[in-house]
């Protein structure tokens, strides 16, 4: 079998799932909440940019633009988008209309998850990228800042990862609890306290509030370079920090003493050992676990 045949077979196999994803995307873009959200993000971003135009340097201003996505208020919208697809009365329509057709449950769930994630990230990027370009390229009254392209790209990537995690948690909560309002309420009441808990147990790598504070540091970062010795030292620190992260997470879940992070980490204005790898792993693993559990739960559910 040559590669053309394989591609054609794969395309046939994927046709139902791309159809579901496209259907979901279209339904979302036609829905009033998503359109209102898009309009509101444009307005808020515009207000934040113009309000701080002459006051803040590039990095703090960009961090201000990203704050609504990480902490408040867009978090609620993202949760609501994640919660709805497989809960409440939607489940019945699903069973009658789509899941009684030749599609797998996990395929359906992953396709709708992809649709939600694409919608959320599209709104995020469509609004923030032009604003960030405007902020960084325009000549403004504050002193010039050392914001780098690498810093901007990685920061936007990390925020996108957080948003993906929130959609995935919404999916998980909606699948587990079945009632969309209950799932959203539970998630909201868990999410904010969890930041405090994570901080207490030195698990800042998983706290969007801490991440929001650290974005200014990341925005000014250079692309990794330097000699081999410093790279080895960095890798060792990363490994130690990852080990600490794992230990603290298990301590939080199963009890036990936690290891404190190095002093100075995530102190306001000082985030020198902010680690992109740890943050990416933290949110990436969280996303994978949430999606995996949602799929497992949905596949075992009676419709």
């Amino acid at each position: 079998m040559d590669s053309t045949d394989r591609m054609s077979k794969l395309a046939t196999l994927m046709r139902p799932y791309t159809a579901i994803c496209r259907h979901d995307l279209r339904a979302l873009w036609q829905s009033r909440p998503v359109r209102l959200w898009l309009a509101a993000t444009v307005v808020l971003t515009l207000l934040a940019t113009l309000g701080n135009w002459g006051k803040l340097q590039d990095a703090p201003l960009i961090a201000t633009l990203l704050f609504p996505y990480l902490v408040f208020p867009w978090f609620f919208i993202v949760i609501a988008l994640g919660v709805t697809p497989v809960s409440g009365s939607q489940a019945e329509t699903l069973a009658d209309g789509i899941l009684s057709r030749p599609v797998t449950r996990y395929g359906y769930l992953l396709a709708t998850w992809a649709g939600r994630v694409i919608t959320v990230l599209a709104v995020f990027y469509v609004v923030t990228v032009p604003a960030i370009m405007l902020v960084t390229l325009a000549k403004r009254p504050p002193a010039e800042d050392a914001v780098t392209v690498y810093g901007i790209v990685t920061t936007l990537g990390v925020v996108a990862l957080v948003l993906t995690l929130i959609v995935s948690l919404g999916f998980l909560a909606g699948t587990l609890l079945r009632k969309p309002l209950l799932a959203a309420a539970v998630l909201i009441f868990l999410w904010y306290p969890v930041n405090f808990v994570l901080s207490t147990f030195s698990l800042e790598e998983l706290s969007p509030i801490s991440l929001s504070q650290a974005t200014t540091t990341q925005l000014r970062r250079q692309w990794l370079g330097g000699d081999d010795e410093s790279k080895t030292a960095t890798n060792k620190e990363e490994a130690e920090a990852l080990l600490r992260l794992g230990t603290n997470l298990s301590s939080m879940l199963f009890g036990g003493q936690t290891q404190q992070s190095k002093p100075g980490y995530f102190e306001p204005g000082k985030f020198e050992d902010f680690s992109l790898v740890r943050v990416t792993l933290g949110y990436g693993a969280g996303t994978l676990i949430a999606v995996g559990l949602a799929v497992l739960c949905f596949c075992r559910r009676d419709l």
Binding site: T12, R15, P16, A19, I20, H23, A27, Q30, S89, E92, T93, A95, D96, G97, I98, L99, S100, R101, P102, V103, T104, R105, Y106, C299, R300, D302, L303
Partner: protein, 336 residues
Amino acid sequence: MEKETGKKQADAATDIPWAIRTEHLTKIYAQRLIAVNDMNLEVPRGSVFGLLGPNGAGKTTTLRLLLGLQRPTAGRAEVFGRRCGPNAVDVRARIGYLPTNPKLPGHLRPIEYLDLLGKLCGLRREVCKPRISTLLRSVGLLGATNQPIRAFSTGMCTRLGIAASLVGDPPLLLWDEPTAGLDPSARRFTLDLISELAKTKTIVVATHILSDIDQICDHLGVMHEGRMIFIGSMKDLKRRLCCDDFSLELVGSAENIERLGCEVAKQEGVESRIDQGGVLHVKITDGRSHALALAGVLKSVGAGDLSLEAIHSGRNATENAYLQLLQEDQSHGFDR
């Protein structure tokens, strides 16, 4: 090699004489409610199989187990030799499902909805589009293609559901109460459509409307409290049960009817019973000729001061057979 294996499996599937088979299929909800109880069922290929039973008998649950929308607590179900389950795509590709009062995505228009289903069935555009227009014409929705589904009446939703079940041109149709909520003409249309489709497909119709079953089905399964209490052909059912009963609707005084009941009961091999509406039910007990018994009873009616309004024979009444089955099942008690 892969192709050969696939071909062998396909050949094996076409050799199988039944479309559906279940073995000890059981579904218990939350360890509390037994919806389907140890069901063994074989639906012959090419038949119109009526799944009959009162509300809550387990008909819909059985269909949803076949579709893999629900997981069996015990036992197994197969469609054309393939095991059913939540991820059994190849099984669902062979099934067209029509739920009772289908819940459809209200924001879509009929063509958009059917197009989506066509894509889910893996149909190519050049096959899908003509089929959609044919189906919409067949179910009489061509004039409503510009309306969103949320504006549809119950009957229109059912007709769209029928079209949706046929998009993939599956060899097996599972239709759950297809005539529920339909006006007489739409009901007639649906029954005629089933008869037409039966020429090429296996059809399972779950319903509690006995007259529908009478008109369209050649095989029947009767469910009661989750159990299959009868499986066979329609002829078997009618032959097996109530074959020599008849009832007479009489007009006259209660005393005269009572007297007639006593006289009839004295006849050899005949039992009688009178209900409150003045209907005399006659049961032939010892193999006596149906015609002779009826002649004797009519003679008694003529002798009394009564007029005869109607005679109903139990020979062809599916309803009587069905009710008798349910009564028998209930009277079996622990033996069930």
